[in-house]
Symmetry: C2
Subunit: 412 residues, 2 copies
Amino acid sequence: MHDYKSLFESVRRSSRRLGLLEEDLRKKTLESLIKITLENIPAILSANLLDLQKMDKEDPKYDRLLLTESRIKGIVEEIRQVISLPSPLHKILEKRTLENGLELEKITVPLGVIGIIYEARPNVTFDVFCLALKSGNGLILKGGSDADSSNRAIMEVIHQALEENGIPKEAFQLLPADRSATQALLEAVEYVDIIIPRGSQGLIDFVRKNSKVPVIETGAGIVHTYFDETADLEKGKAIILNAKTRRPSVCNSLDCLIIHQSRLDDLPGLLLPLLEKGVIVFADKQAFAHLPSHPLIELAKEEHFGTEFLSLKMSIKTVSSFEEALDHIEKYSSKHSEAIISENQKNIEQFLNVVDAAAVYANASTAFTDGNQFGLGAEIGISTQKLHARGPMALQELTSYKWVVRGNGQIR
Amino acid sequence: MHDYKSLFESVRRSSRRLGLLEEDLRKKTLESLIKITLENIPAILSANLLDLQKMDKEDPKYDRLLLTESRIKGIVEEIRQVISLPSPLHKILEKRTLENGLELEKITVPLGVIGIIYEARPNVTFDVFCLALKSGNGLILKGGSDADSSNRAIMEVIHQALEENGIPKEAFQLLPADRSATQALLEAVEYVDIIIPRGSQGLIDFVRKNSKVPVIETGAGIVHTYFDETADLEKGKAIILNAKTRRPSVCNSLDCLIIHQSRLDDLPGLLLPLLEKGVIVFADKQAFAHLPSHPLIELAKEEHFGTEFLSLKMSIKTVSSFEEALDHIEKYSSKHSEAIISENQKNIEQFLNVVDAAAVYANASTAFTDGNQFGLGAEIGISTQKLHARGPMALQELTSYKWVVRGNGQIR
C-alpha cells in the first residue's frame, strides 16, 4: 500500500506559506502554465487518447473525458480569466480599535489544503489548480481512473509551471487513481482542511458519508419554478423554456414546474416551446387533464417529484394556492435554486423570504445560479449546504480568516 | 427506543419560519424569559439540588453544575446583554445590479437547526437558547445526564416564555439524557444543520469522529507566547502573568512560553510573579540551567509540549532563533491563540503573517480571545477550525446566507 501519509504531510508542509506569495508571482505562474500548456498540446492530447481508447464511445462520460485542441484553448482562456480576478487573500473583513488600544483586524487567509475528488473530467484538474494557487491553498487531487493518463499529463505541465517560478510543486499533488487513495484522503483530518467532491450524486453521497474531513457538498439541484395566479404569460414562457432547456445537464436546470390551478388553461401554451425542443413532461392528474394528448406528455408518478433529471425531462405539479406551492417546494427542494413567476408583489416577497434555498428568484430563469453570472468569477461548484459557503463557491469561499491583534502590552 | 426521528422532524418543521419573526418579538420573549426565570428561582434551585445530591462534592464538575440565586441573576444579566445585541438576520452582505437588470442581494438567514452536545453546565442551556432564538435557529440540546434535572427545569421556563409569546416551543427541544439520543443526533443529517460540542476534549473528539452532521469544533487551545530577542521585559512580565493566571481553566490561557536564548537571564524575573501564584513550570534543559532551584520548577519532558494544561502549569521552550520559535509553534499549536512579545517590527509582522491560528497577537495577552472582548457579543465557543467560523463564534456565525434575485423576465 502506498504511503499516503508522507505525501499528505509533504503537501501540508510545503503549502504552509503559499498564502504569503506575492500576487505577481501567482500571475506569472499562471502565465507560465498557459505557455507550457500550449506548447504541450500534442503531449496532452496523446495522453488523453490513451484514456479515450479504454472507453466506449457511447458512454456519456466519453464526451466529458474528451480533450481537443480547441477545448484546451478554451481552458487557456479560463486561466486568463482567473489571472485577472482580484486576489481573495489579505482582505481586511473587519477592523477596529478597542477601548484599551488593541488594534483588531479580521483578514482573509487560505483554508490550507483542499482535497478534490472528481470523475472523468480532466479540465477540472486545470480549474481547481488555478483557483487553489490563486487562493494560496495546497491541493490534493483524486481524479477518476478513467482520466488518469490525461490528469498525469496535465499535472506534469502544472508542475513545470510551478518549478519555473520557484513555487514548491509538492504542494499540488495528484493521488494514484486507486480506491485506497480515496479512503486515505477522506481520513486525512490532520492534513486536509476541506474536501470538495465534484461529480455525480453517488460520488457526493459517498464522500459525505465516509469523510472525516469537513466536506462541502456541491451539485444536486432539484429546481422548481412556480407559475403563480398572476404570472405574466410571456415572461413565464421565456423563463421556463430557458431554465429547462438552456443546459439540461447542469444543476441549475428546471426539474418541476408548479402551476396555480387557475392558470391551467395557459399550460399548453407554456409547454409548447418545450415540447418542440423534445422535453418529456410528467404532468400530475389535474395538469394532464388540461393537456392535449401528445407523445411527450405522460402522467406523473410520485418518483417524478423530488428528482433531479439532468436531462430533457420535467414534472408538473398543480396547486390550489400559493401556500401549497411553498409546501411542495419545502418537501422536495434540494435548496439549490427556486423561482416564482408572479406579478403579485406580496407573493413575490413572501416567496423570496420563506423559501430556503441558496438562490431564490422572482421572474427570472434559475440558469443564472453560477459564479460567473453572479459576478464572483470562476466557481469550484455550487454549494447546497449552509455552512461556510452557500450557492456559487468561488475564490472567496476558498479562504478562511484570522484575527490579527496588535498591542502595546495590553492585559485583561 | 425513543422515536427521535419524529422529534427531529418536529423541530425542523416548527423552526422553519423562526428567521421571519419580528426582532421585537424575540426581544419580548427574552424579557419574558427573564421574568419567568426570576419567578422560578426556587424551582430551578431545587431541581439543581437533585442533580447535586448525586455528585461527589470533590468532583471538579460539582462547581460547574452548581446553580445559586446569584448565579441565576448573573445568567439573567447575560440574557439582557443578548437582548441588546443587534440582530444578525436580514443583513445585506452584498448587493449589486447585473448588466441585464437582475437585482442581486446576498442576505443573512438562520442556519436552520443547531444541535448542541454539552456536559454538566446548566447555564449553557440558557446561553444557547438565547443565541438560537436571536439568530432564528431551531435548537436540539443534548445535555449531560449529571445535569438533567436542572436542564429540564430550565427548559420548562424557556418553553413558558415561548408559549407566552406565541413562538412554537417544539422548535427548541432537550433530548433525554441518554447515549442513544446522542447517537441519533449525530446521524440526523436531514434535520440538523450543525452540531457544536461544548465541553472536554474527549467530548469534542467523540463528536467529530462520529458525527454525520457538520461539526464546528470549539475549545482546545494549546497556546504559545514567544519572548523575542528584543522583547520589553516589563510588557513581557505583565502579559505572561495575565495569559497564564487570569483564568487558567479556559482555552485562551498560556501553555508554553518560548524564549529566545539571548534572554535567558531575564527568565527568573519573568517567572517570579507566576511562581508566586503557584504556577508549576516545566523548563527545557537550557532554561532549567538558567533557573534557581525551586520546588515549582521541574525539568520538562516531551509530553509537556503540545499540551493544553487548563491549570496552573506551563512549559518553557528555549530557541536559538526567531525561525525556531515559528517552527515550534507550527509543530505544537492547536491554532487557537498565539502571541509574540517583541520590539522588532519585522519579526512582529512576520509572526502575525506566518503563524496559522484563529488569533495572532503582538505584545498583548492571549486572554483577549473572546467574543465579548472582540466586540462580537456573547459567544457560543471559540472555533479552532477554518471552515465557516474561526475564533470566537457569536451570533453572526450562527447564520448562513442566501442569494435573492429579483428580475423582470430575464433569461440567460
